[in-house]
Symmetry: C2
Subunit: 218 residues, 2 copies
């Protein structure tokens, strides 16, 4: 019984996360327990638990009335989020370079090198590689609270990160080249070079996301 | 109606937090919705919301069966918690020394200087001063995500921090002297000196808490 309930919560959470990340539920969209219960055909408790976890991850926020909305950060807040993530990720890499999962990074590099930048799923590949790369850096932290915070920051940026890959930003071929260079720096054995490359990558991402978001009517 | 409910949640949360902080509910204590509903004579929803907020702050954890328990971190985890808090607080002070609330720190110093270290409430005063001091440092952060994370770390350490003030550790007079010196360093206008003093204070606190906790049967 308990297992069944946890699994419903997880299914509901994953489905809502998928919709937020893919832009099906853009920032500002309202969510209510009632409509989700009806749509998923499950009872209120698992829906409420799933919403509560998404709230903890900072992806949705409770409204003063009832219900929730997909988080709608203003530009200043998104900038602070990206800056905070940059500080934490660089702190982890600087202090835990020796703890990086080299095998995982090598595998990622090989996959990316083999991928066709002109394929239809090139953007999806770039996104997956980026996710795994940053998670590998965060997982190198020798402090579970920093690791958790980093994972949460990665999660919180999800509704915004794809602006970097939007038309007008870098092409899939450019994104691929940039990430191969970053992986080479991480794998170089030179922690200074690795930190510099990661800082540049995160700074470029921040600049592109903010530039793309400035073009959206607030 | 909505106000009334929020206020019940807040009352329940504050009361549970008070019990955890004062040691009335030591780490490992079980909590159930049923018994809290009965004791506070309120319905399930506000009790559940209060528990969910304490869980978000990392002070209680959900049990795989039902109910919750006051967080029971092992020594390694407490050490990582204190190290993480130290890193984040020092990062904030280093980058935002100019943003410190000088008036608040001066007021705190005056209060502490005027307090009698032999008074019956000397420990309570030391605790309050410490709380306000670290919150003033955290509030200086110019990044809301770092500020939130710092506040959460301060909260998560609450069930452990009083070990520093336990018998055998520093006397109230010594605690008072140490904190006056820290406040002087923070107020000196010399950010290097302020960071050094804060690092020493946090490191001493970490060492004392861990030493005291090692004497408790795990």
């Amino acid at each position: 019984m308990a297992l069944q309930k946890i699994s419903l919560v997880e299914q509901a959470r994953t489905e809502l996360l998928r919709r937020i990340v893919t832009g099906l539920l853009p920032a500002g969209t309202r969510l209510t327990e009632e409509s989700l219960c009806a749509e998923f055909a499950i009872s209120r408790t698992p829906v409420r638990d799933a919403l509560s976890r998404l709230e903890t991850d900072g992806l949705i926020e409770r409204l003063p009335t009832r219900g929730y909305q997909v988080c709608l950060l203003d530009l200043a807040a998104i900038d602070e989020l990206l800056v905070c993530r940059m500080k934490i990720e660089l702190m982890i890499l600087r202090e835990n370079y020796a703890g990086l999962a080299i095998a995982g990074l090598r595998e990622l590099r090989a996959e990316l090198a083999a991928a066709d930048p002109d394929a239809a799923d090139a953007l999806e590949t770039a996104r997956t590689v980026d996710d795994r790369l940053h998670r590998l850096v965060g997982d190198a932290a020798d402090n579970r609270f920093l690791r958790e915070f980093h994972a949460r920051l990665l999660c919180r940026r999800l509704p915004y990160r794809d602006f970097r890959n939007s038309p007008g930003a870098l092409s899939p071929a450019e994104l691929r080249r940039e990430r191969l260079a970053l992986l080479d720096a991480l794998l170089s054995g030179d922690s200074e070079r690795a930190c510099r490359a990661l800082a540049e990558h995160l700074e470029a991402g921040r600049r592109d996301v903010l530039a793309a978001m400035r073009q959206i009517p607030q």
